[in-house]
Symmetry: C2
Subunit: 146 residues, 2 copies
DNA sequence: TTATTAAAAGACAAAAAGGTCTTTTGGTAA
DNA sequence: TTACCAAAAGACCTTTTTGTCTTTTAATAA
């Protein structure tokens, strides 16, 4: 569905937010371990997210990653776009230059509604909303991870 | 959505089927040109499809690619599985080891129905059904291709 | 039976994705 | 003010994906 970097970023940010809710600021090693991602790669990804302004960090003792409390929620469509580019769910499944109901590919009729649902999903859900769900124990963050 | 190889295979096979309907057997160069894919890469992909048994070919003058008239339709899920492996639309969007309603990730609730729709789509549609749609001029094969 | 045609086979290579590691920088706390 | 800690930066590497090209094999037609 998503590529590895997006997947790790998503899981990592949800984990960080979850810890922030508990007044904690996890570091790279902790995040990597909890989301079962490669530690160095996780570090690199988190660094990029800080540079992109999605996340904040503190160096030194007691340091780690955290969300700016003043910022609004981060819809995952923004995250996906930043990492994978705007290819998101705008393109034609068949490879036409653009997905256009006026010049539809043979998959369009059935694919367009699905694409719309996907776009709705990633627009509506945010890192924070996902973390909330995990916090309420309704959903799992890392059980049976790949 | 799909990777390049799958995309070219899909478009290529639909084009070939379309030409077969017109009693023609296109060759690699023609297919590549019509679906706007790299010629050598297209040739390699078609060769693989022949080896996989999805397609047939004839060498020499008047040669080219064609579908075995005796064979049943080819659902595109089979094509996708053969090229990309079974990763298809079985996995968890969040990266959990498996998508399981008993241990759902925070995206599951909204993503599962979408996944189901995708699986329905690729199971129901076949190379032949897609070619039919193009044949009836209802849908476009290569207008505005990437 | 030979020339021609077109696919098959497979080596090679560029680009992108995924991942590792070392060094530097900037904080914290004793 | 020193020792330590943890993120930042960036070089480097591996694997996968995407793509190119040459040589060989097989079919057809003259
Ligand atoms: S035109 Fe192909 S999916 Fe819309
Ligand atoms: S468990 Fe994640 S999509 Fe189903």
């Amino acid at each position: 569905m998503f590529n590895k970097e997006t997947e790790y970023a998503l899981r990592g940010l949800v984990y960080i937010k979850l810890q922030n809710l508990k007044e904690r600021r996890p570091g790279t090693l902790e995040v990597a371990k909890e989301i079962e991602a490669p530690p160095f790669f996780t570090a690199k990804i988190l660094q990029r997210l800080v540079r992109s302004g999605f996340l904040r960090s503190l160096k030194g003792k007691g340091g780690g990653f955290f969300f700016d409390p003043g910022k609004p929620d981060l819809p995952i469509i923004n995250l996906i776009s930043a990492i994978e580019g705007d290819r998101s769910f705008s393109g034609c499944s068949f490879g036409l230059k653009q997905c256009d109901s006026d010049n539809p590919c043979p998959l369009h009729e059935k694919y367009a509604p699905i694409k719309e649902a996907l776009n709705k999903l990633i627009t509506e859900e945010s890192v924070q909303s996902l973390a909330e769900k995990v916090y309420k124990k309704e959903f799992s963050l890392n059980e049976f991870l790949k």
